[in-house]
């Protein structure tokens, strides 16, 4: 580890803290219908959209209606995307003559982009036409907004008293697109072009290389997709190797921009939350707990990667693990990005996760298995963390024998049941599907690396699918029929098993009276609650995965340091 490496990580965390308030205030202005500088342009567009689509702006929805609207929008988006992928050969903007996608891959991909996962069982530059990439990008704009709408509804559930409605889904969707997604992506895309991202619709270029060979170089409208891919925490890259590909990330400046874009909304939402519940300490406490876990994970991974591979040291190669890493990023920035991609759940990678050291891989797995709550993607990260907060006050209540309250609302059996459900279903799906994979022919056939690392590949795939992350241990044969369907289902479960209980909690809380704060109220801000929250995430959320992790990355770590390799050869 170098001084610059560690300092860079610390400075980055400081920048995130500094971003929270301005971003949060902007979000507050957008959703509380205060004046913003974009109003003169966007307000007429917004009104026009409502008129065309027949949306009644002032009509609020109950939690069930809100959920059905979201479901309808996701369903339509899925069907349209699936259709376009099936017939892409007949559609325009296909200079590289890409063929139609089959039903399995189209299903997997359409689910993947509709659920904000962006798991890619294909290589972009060798599978997708520019038209298809653009349609994938449409979902990259729209799917994070579903997550955003969920948290808006949930926070309204916490902050409103004796009410029945949680807002209007169509309004939340439209305002987010017009005031947040489109303008920021536009600026991001232009900066990315300036830094070296291509933005053209031309055919692939054939270069005659210096030493006399030829090289076919894929082109495309990379910048416009790259911007929302990162900003929306989508993660589905234009190219197969995603953020590691030099056209997506030509230099370190462009990677830093992508990091900032990816963190901005989830970090800002914590401040927005505090602002809406009229106690910003609540938001800071949540952000503090998230960043403490994020910083720890980053430094642990950086240490493991900087120490490098002892098996290669026996061959005389000393230094950081550079297999699957780009020189311009190096071990420190690669570790920062790979921790971020799993913690914030965007899922694009600037280094090959399959080639991380076992402890580096363990960190990525932990970030996803703890429920994608260490920052997390638009809305769903904070949503998961607030579910943990409800469990934390419940546990604290049990310990001291008080009725648990959160933000002045009594937490009763229904809320705790729903929060527990939101935690159990994903766990069950990850472990159940992994067990199926390693005991079935189809599952075993798709594993690439031998030994415990193979189990890590499988665990990673389902943790990534359920967590709607989208990154992979890339060796796994994601395009094989077994994984294409199981991961496809995992993505659906992960998304909706979270939405339904979360909205049900919101629908229950919104109807409750406020309980006045008294001396007996357990404070849900400050270091004590932050610590309790982290403990709840680790113990309730992640500990259940310990046996699986012991057989995967931990077993590999100890084998590695005692000089073992797995499988034949060498």
């Amino acid at each position: 580890m170098t001084v610059a490496g560690v300092l860079g990580i610390l400075v980055f965390v400081a920048v995130l803290i500094a971003m929270a308030k301005p971003v949060g205030l902007y979000l507050f202005a957008v959703y509380d219908q205060r004046r913003t500088f974009l109003d003169p342009v966007m307000r007429p567009v917004e009104r026009g959209i409502y008129r065309l689509a027949g949306v009644r702006e002032e009509k609020e929805m109950s939690w069930l209606e809100y959920f059905l609207a979201l479901l309808a929008f996701n369903l339509v988006g899925f069907v349209v995307l699936y259709g376009f992928l099936r017939i892409q050969a007949a559609l325009p903007f296909n200079p590289a003559h890409m063929k139609d996608l089959g039903p399995h891959l189209s299903f997997n991909t359409a689910v993947s982009f509709m659920t904000n996962t962006n798991w890619q069982a294909y290589g972009g530059e060798s599978t997708m036409s520019y038209f298809s990439q653009t349609m994938l990008m449409v979902q990259q704009f729209l799917s994070p907004i579903s997550g955003m709408a969920m948290i808006l509804a949930f926070i309204r559930g916490l902050s409103r008293r004796n009410a029945h409605t949680l807002g209007n889904f169509w309004v939340d969707l439209t305002r987010t697109l017009l005031w947040v997604s489109l303008p920021i992506s536009f600026i991001g895309a232009m900066v990315l072009v300036a830094l070296g991202n291509p933005q053209n619709w031309g055919p692939y270029v054939t270069a005659h290389t210096l030493q006399g060979g030829t090289q076919s170089i894929a082109q495309g409208p990379v910048a416009m997709m790259n911007a929302i891919m990162q900003f929306g925490d989508n993660g589905g890259g234009f190219f197969n190797m995603n953020a590691g590909h030099p056209y997506e990330t030509p230099n370190v400046a462009s990677l830093m921009l992508q990091l900032i874009l990816g963190f901005s909304i989830p970090v800002g939402l914590t401040y927005y939350f505090g602002k809406v519940v009229k106690d910003t300490r609540q938001g800071w406490t949540i952000l503090g707990a998230m960043l403490a876990m994020f910083l720890t994970g980053t430094l642990v991974m950086y240490h493991a990667e900087a120490v490098g591979n002892p098996l290669l040291a026996h061959l005389g190669i000393h230094g950081a693990n550079m297999e699957g890493k780009e020189v311009r990023f190096g071990p420190a920035l690669s570790s920062l990005f790979e921790t971020s991609t799993t913690a914030v759940s965007w899922g694009s990678t600037a280094a090959a996760n399959d080639s991380l050291m076992p402890i580096g891989g363990l960190i990525t797995l932990f970030n996803m298995m703890s429920g994608e709550v260490i920052i997390g993607a638009w809305g769903v990260g904070l949503l998961g963390m607030l579910a943990f907060a409800i469990l934390a006050v419940f546990l604290a209540g049990l310990m001291v024998g008080r009725t648990p309250e959160y933000l002045g609302k009594k937490i009763q059996a229904f809320e705790v049941q729903m929060a527990t459900l939101a935690m159990i279903v994903p766990t069950f799906v990850i472990l159940g599907l992994s067990a199926w994979a390693v005991t079935s022919k189809g599952g075993l056939a798709g594993i690439y690396n031998p030994g415990p690392h193979g189990l890590s590949e499988v665990l990673y795939a389902f943790a990534s699918g359920v967590g709607n992350n989208g990154s992979a241990f890339g060796g796994l044969d994601a395009a094989s029929p077994f994984y294409i369907w199981t991961v496809g289902l995992a993505m659906l479960f992960g998304r909706f098993a979270m939405y339904i209980p979360a909205l049900a909690i919101a629908g229950s809380l919104v109807q409750k009276q406020a309980v006045p704060e008294s001396g007996g109220t357990f404070p849900t801000h400050g270091m004590l609650f932050g610590g309790l929250l982290i403990a709840t995430v680790v113990i309730v959320g992640a500990l259940v995965f310990f046996p699986a992790l012991a057989l995967g990355p931990l077993a590999e770590h100890f084998a590695l340091w005692s000089g073992h390799v797995f499988g034949g050869g060498a």
Partner: protein, 193 residues
């Protein structure tokens, strides 16, 4: 639900027009207007012919060139790929052993302990355009000898191309292999060797 489906379809159509139409066209138009070189792939031309893209690595195997890193994609820029070897995979050890042997054979006088990991381990994209400055300086004596250039001139070319950390904090120092090799050609052209 039926009522919601109708609204959903209408909104999706409107949003597709906004995103795939207005946003795509605006970004493309402005990119082509303001940054045409980058927008069209930062291609490098020599004697009117495209010889590559500035940030896309290409294969260099001849002794007169600075070598690129090992690539799992064989530098196919239409199919980027990583090796995905795990740290305990025997295939990784085999790959590194082979790469070390090749590097030592190509660069006589270099000791194995001097070889930077990045020069014998394959990159993420399979298209890494860069190597570390140390990896370039290790190759300088061989490049100088084969090209009949003074060592100082080759080392000067390396030094000229070193890019440091972003803001002094982020990333690793690196040199672009294609640009260094173009400078070698330019030097030899200038000095008629």
């Amino acid at each position: 639900m039926i009522k919601h489906l109708g609204t959903a379809i209408r909104l999706l159509v409107i949003f597709m027009v906004l995103i795939a139409g207005v946003y795509s066209l605006t970004v493309t138009g402005l990119a082509q207007l303001l940054f045409p070189a980058q927008a069209n792939g930062s291609l490098i031309r020599r004697h009117g012919q495209i010889i590559g893209a500035r940030m896309i690595g290409q294969s260099f195997t001849g002794a007169r060139w600075f070598d690129s890193r090992p690539s799992a994609a064989s530098y196919d820029a239409a199919a980027s790929a990583a090796s995905n070897y795990g740290p305990t995979n025997p295939a990784l050890l085999k790959e590194v052993k082979t790469n070390v042997a090749t590097f030592l054979k190509d660069n006589p006088g270099v000791k194995v302990s001097q070889v930077p990991p990045s020069m014998v381990e394959s990159s993420d994209s399979g298209l890494d355009p860069d190597i570390s400055p140390a990896a370039a300086y290790l190759q300088a004596p061989r490049v100088a000898r084969v090209n009949h250039m003074p060592l100082s001139a080759v080392r000067h070319i390396v030094a000229e191309h070193v890019r440091g950390r972003f803001l002094g904090l982020y990333g690793s120092p690196h040199v672009n292999v294609l640009e260094m090799n173009l400078s070698l050609l330019a030097w030899r052209h200038r000095h008629h060797v």
